[in-house]
């Protein structure tokens, strides 16, 4: 598979997604550069998760093209998509850990399925990933039902990182975390992006994490990307919805001190 668009990790062109007559994503185009953290914001129920799930092939699209690392994405049964799956890691909103496996087995699962490794090596990798996301190696023997919300997200991130993917998709990684844990999570994502050169596609409502970690922010409204750019530019955007989003009562902390 040749890399046709080396500077872009994800290219979405003219995408249409809908359920029945209800169109959720309406001729949307979006490019994500390699090595950047892109935050996606949008109204609740406005199609952010739908966009992400379409990119990873879970929701069939009605039109348009999606490329991830230069390879076109079809639905989940497509061979191309399956080979692309080795190059992305996904953190679902609820974690989506396999409840019948322990934390360690969860992290090893993608390794076991895609590679042939000795058990000792896999244990070592799992422990390394656990420590990377700030968990103790002892947590590896717990079951997902024994974990707190924050730990579940950390384990899910560890699993998403298990194959050292080039792209990580995060669906509301900080929702339901207290500000300290959310801050740690943000710092973790930033560190990983710096050290591993990850591309991060993050769906979030957390203004603080948008402000601190995201290189660029894309705003999704009415099924389209209405604004995209660094946080500073978005704050100056004239689009009504974007203004309402970033200039509401809850976003006062984002305003530059001078104004």
């Amino acid at each position: 598979m040749q890399e046709t668009t080396p500077q872009f990790a994800i290219r979405v062109h003219d995408l249409v997604v809908g359920f029945g007559r209800h169109v959720v994503i309406d001729h949307l185009s979006l490019d994500v550069r390699k090595g950047e953290i892109l935050g996606l914001v949008g109204a609740s129920g406005g199609g952010k998760s739908v966009l992400m799930r379409t990119i990873i092939g879970l929701i069939p699209r009605q039109g348009g093209e999606i490329e991830v690392m230069g390879a076109a994405i079809g639905d989940t049964h497509d061979r191309n998509t399956q080979s692309a799956a080795g190059r992305w890691g996904i953190l679902f909103q609820q974690g989506a850990l396999f409840s019948s496996l322990t934390v360690r087995q969860n992290i090893q699962f993608p390794l076991r399925e895609n590679l042939v490794l000795s058990d000792a090596l896999m244990d070592e990798i799992a422990t390394a990933k656990l420590e990377m996301v700030g968990l103790m190696p002892e947590d590896g023997d717990k079951f997902p039902s024994e974990l707190s919300g924050g730990m579940t997200k950390r384990v899910a991130l560890a699993r998403a990182l298990a194959l050292d993917p080039a792209i990580v998709f995060l669906d509301e990684p900080t929702s339901g975390l207290d500000p300290i844990a959310a801050g740690e999570f943000d710092a973790l994502i930033k560190t990983l992006q710096k050290t591993l050169g990850l591309t991060v596609f993050m769906v979030t409502h957390d203004l603080a994490s948008l402000n601190t970690v995201c290189d660029r922010v894309a705003a999704l409204a009415d099924g389209k990307i209405v604004a995209i750019g660094p946080m500073r530019e978005l704050l100056q955007s004239e689009h009504a919805w974007v203004r309402a989003y970033f200039h509401g009562k809850r976003s006062l902390m984002l305003q530059p001190k001078a104004s």
């Binding site: 799930r53 879970l58 080979s83 992305w88 609820q94 989506a96 396999f98 409840s99 699962f109």
Partner: protein, 309 residues
């Protein structure tokens, strides 16, 4: 109250409200202004026709889902045949243990009781016209040909089918199945194939064990209640029952297992986000698989009759 007065043409004013309640009164005044437009009442006849149409569409949908699952199962089987290493052996063995080994006690108990009851009823009624020795024929044929496999299949549908639906449904709810597919794995191959294969292997074995237990129950009743010794019972059984009878019963088992497995798994995958839908699909799964098992049994009866077995 004030709204009703206003609509009746009076002017209202709320007086004497403490400051801290004024906000609440104002908030209440703001809400609930618009009643949702009532749904247009349908002509009852049209509504009925509408319902029938909807359930017909639902039934074809069910059939489509069933066939789709059957198709993807076969695809998965071919995939596994090409790459035998990709079969989930651990999962298969575990499922076999669960639906096979752990089901034995309850299956034995129930079929034992059924056999005993048939024998008791048979002796009680046949005795009136002195035909009580034919009880053995009745128990033998009924158990080996029809009841053994049918009762075991119904119990397995209730016990293991519902478990499958609930498991897959909760996995679906927690996005585990989505996580699997985004890792480039086929949920049918990883989750469903081992479960269905386990069921297809376990049900014939369980029906065999169940039939034996039922015959044992019948034999005991014949001995203590009917006064017919085990030796006579076995000798009569030997005359009355041919191997074909037994074959007819046991041949049906894998097909019934396939139906139960497919229904249970596809209902599990149809679970939507809520816990209520999980419960609903589990119920649907059990009802539907028991219904289909009985229909299948009827079809087999017609089939075997026409080929003279």
């Amino acid at each position: 109250m004030s709204r009703r007065a206003t609509s009746a043409g009076h002017r209202t004013e709320v007086v004497g409200v403490a400051d801290n309640y004024a906000g609440l009164i104002e908030e209440v005044r703001q809400v609930n202004r618009h009643n949702p437009a009532p749904a247009p009442a349908l002509n009852p006849f049209v509504a009925r026709v509408n319902d029938i149409g909807r359930s017909a569409v639902g039934a074809t949908e069910d059939l489509a889902v069933f066939l789709q699952m059957l198709g993807s199962l076969f695809m998965a089987i071919f995939g596994v045949l090409r790459r035998p290493r990709s079969l989930r052996l651990t999962s298969l063995v575990y499922q076999l243990y669960r639906v096979g080994w752990q089901a034995i006690p309850i299956v034995v108990l129930i079929t034992f009781l059924i056999g005993a009851i048939i024998a008791q009823q048979g002796i009680f009624h046949f005795r009136k016209f002195g035909a009580d020795s034919y009880v053995v024929d009745m128990v033998g044929i009924l158990v080996l040909r029809e009841l053994g496999v049918l009762i075991v299949a119904i119990m397995v549908a209730g016990r293991s089918g519902s478990a499958y639906t609930a498991e897959l449904g909760s996995m679906k709810m927690r996005e585990e199945i989505d996580a699997l597919s985004t890792m480039g794995l086929d949920p049918v191959e990883v989750l469903i194939l081992p479960r269905v294969i386990a069921l297809v292997c376990a049900l014939p074995i369980l029906s065999f064990i169940g039939s034996m237990a039922a015959l044992y129950g019948g034999c005991l009743v014949a001995w203590f209640y009917g006064g017919m010794g085990p030796a006579i019972f076995i000798a009569r059984l030997h005359d009355a029952v041919s191997v074909t009878r037994f074959e007819v019963g046991i041949i049906k088992a894998p097909f019934m297992a396939l139906v139960i497995g497919i229904v249970a798994c596809s209902e599990g995958l149809r679970v939507k986000g809520s816990a209520e839908s999980l419960g609903k699909q589990t119920t649907t799964s059990v009802v539907k698989s028991i219904f289909l098992v009985i229909v299948l049994d009827g079809l087999f009866a017609v089939f075997f009759a026409s080929i003279g077995m």
